[in-house]
Symmetry: C2
Subunit: 349 residues, 2 copies
Amino acid sequence: MTSRHISLKDLAKELNVSISTVSRALRDHPDISSEVKEKVKQLALSKNYTPNPLAMGLLKQETRMIGVIVPDLVTHFYASIISGIEQVANEMGYFILLASSNESVEKEKQAIENLLKARVEGFIICQTQETQSTEHFEALIERSIPLVFFDRICLSDRVPTVTVDNKAAAQKITQHFYQQGYRRIAFISGPDQLNITKERMAGYLEGLKQSGLPEDPELIEHCNLSFESAKQAMARLLDTANPPDAVFGINDTVAFAAMQKIKERGLKIPDNVGLVGFTDDFHAMVVDPPLTSITHPTYAIGQEAARLFFQSKDNKQYSTPVVLQTQLIIRKSSQKTCHGDHDDAETAW
Amino acid sequence: MTSRHISLKDLAKELNVSISTVSRALRDHPDISSEVKEKVKQLALSKNYTPNPLAMGLLKQETRMIGVIVPDLVTHFYASIISGIEQVANEMGYFILLASSNESVEKEKQAIENLLKARVEGFIICQTQETQSTEHFEALIERSIPLVFFDRICLSDRVPTVTVDNKAAAQKITQHFYQQGYRRIAFISGPDQLNITKERMAGYLEGLKQSGLPEDPELIEHCNLSFESAKQAMARLLDTANPPDAVFGINDTVAFAAMQKIKERGLKIPDNVGLVGFTDDFHAMVVDPPLTSITHPTYAIGQEAARLFFQSKDNKQYSTPVVLQTQLIIRKSSQKTCHGDHDDAETAW
DNA sequence: TATTATCATGCAAAGCTTTGCGCTAAGCTT
DNA sequence: AAGCTTAGCGCAAAGCTTTGCATGATAATA
């Protein structure tokens, strides 16, 4: 029940010196004699003294906490990114305060307010797919509160961002399909306002053009990134007069949903329909057939976002966007012709 | 650069009253006249005043932060539990400080120290599989720092815990296998010191007994819960003279690893080998064939752990262990005989 | 009118740390 | 020996909030 942490005051009392002497002794201030220093340090160690971060925060006006807001916590993609953020933050002596927006702008705003109340020093955010207006972000910028976006971004002229080479990756996918002999390549896309949607769409279209394939509106479907809506999108594709022989899903959830729907229809992957996802590594390997996909360097994305955060906190000046490279990992789901590869063949494009 | 948050002092100055008057006005203290109250509240609202948690923490000696330590952040199981913890914590005006032990006792200890330095008020922990000695936990108990364990527990006579009905669940699995016609039922187990290992083992054995099946040491394998080690365990099972026709994996990772190894050997699930996991719902549905499994109520586990935390913080007295119910969800991977069910048939046992 | 009750507000301390400045005593210079 | 430097340490303020107590003023009572 007694205060569980000991303070400078406690040490000072025990040593019959002033608090300031203790403080300076611990910080090796030249004013303090080496005998006193020694005594103080020893006692501090034995009593397991650690400075009270609340007091320090009050004094220095810093809390050493970063607010991190993601659409959800349970997706491996975000969890892994958060790990990356945490690693760098920890190294810098910072902690993370986590909040999930559940893809709702309202909760996103609420989270920002709550974290602000908790006095986080800034934010690292992946916005919801609903997010259209950017006022709540601009308010942060105006108050010059450090802010970093990753994956889903906006305001990128004023906010440091970290993304992946979405367009190039999507292009690789289309080309890969083409080389495998697929000719009717469909794209299950997401909400239009998201940058990832736009960029992957651009890459998809560019890939078609380069392969000399025509652009066919019937091969482009939209969904809201949920499993169910992705399944419906896949169903619509299969129900067209001239269904696709290859499908590119904008993320892992979408790809898995597509896979399930394709199987339900009794079609074979990769023979009847090729499938490629856009995801991090983990899930792609447990499904059957193993899913060819663009892999995100999720951990690195987190690390990079954290670095950008500290940069913008210290320098106060705009950092140029960071774009990380993805890799196309080719697995069974997109290999129409038998290449003689065994299960774990992984070809970096 | 100027202090980004406004304080009582700011409000007081602007209104030409004392800080204490402002404080009391905001908390509706009867001593303050209603006109002053009105003025103060209005200004506070317009200036967007929120009390500084650092100052409050210093004063009240509470930080409103809970330290949560898990073996890793990226597994859906933990991520979902963390979500549950977060929801309850948020409701109580608390924040979570997350740390991952990476299944290393050293990092677990380190995390406890770091979080203690950050002055968390207590801990919610799922210990590493390495954890043998319990000194670092007992140190917390002695300092009467609130502590709650979930899933992997120890010291349960002194620490509130939340687990699931491991034994009963394991028993159900064995019986289900038996009813499906499987007769050589194997168990891929984990490190012996873990309570989950012991309890599920007990249930497995009890289930065998009830089904009148003999206990065969050859059908019990151990692994360290990693994907690779689980695959090796599965391989060892398949290499025995009389290999199993059914396998119960102690968690999802293990089950997936087993699945992969079984497929590699060209065996069919569920016809040649039945498979059941012990996991939360998410992954079981995306693999092929869909995995029969015991589902953890992960979100509820998190919620319950958080509730227990607050209980032990306030009451200071020991709470009886919480045991949550699991469900056996039957999917394709364990249905030897064709039941005519369609894909999404789910039978609660 | 003098005294008391009541109301509204301010002062100051506590919680913990850092740091500029002031103080004391010892040692040094000339 | 008188004056000056310097080594070594303490005071106090700032950062923000709450709250017991004191203060001041006004209204009510005897």
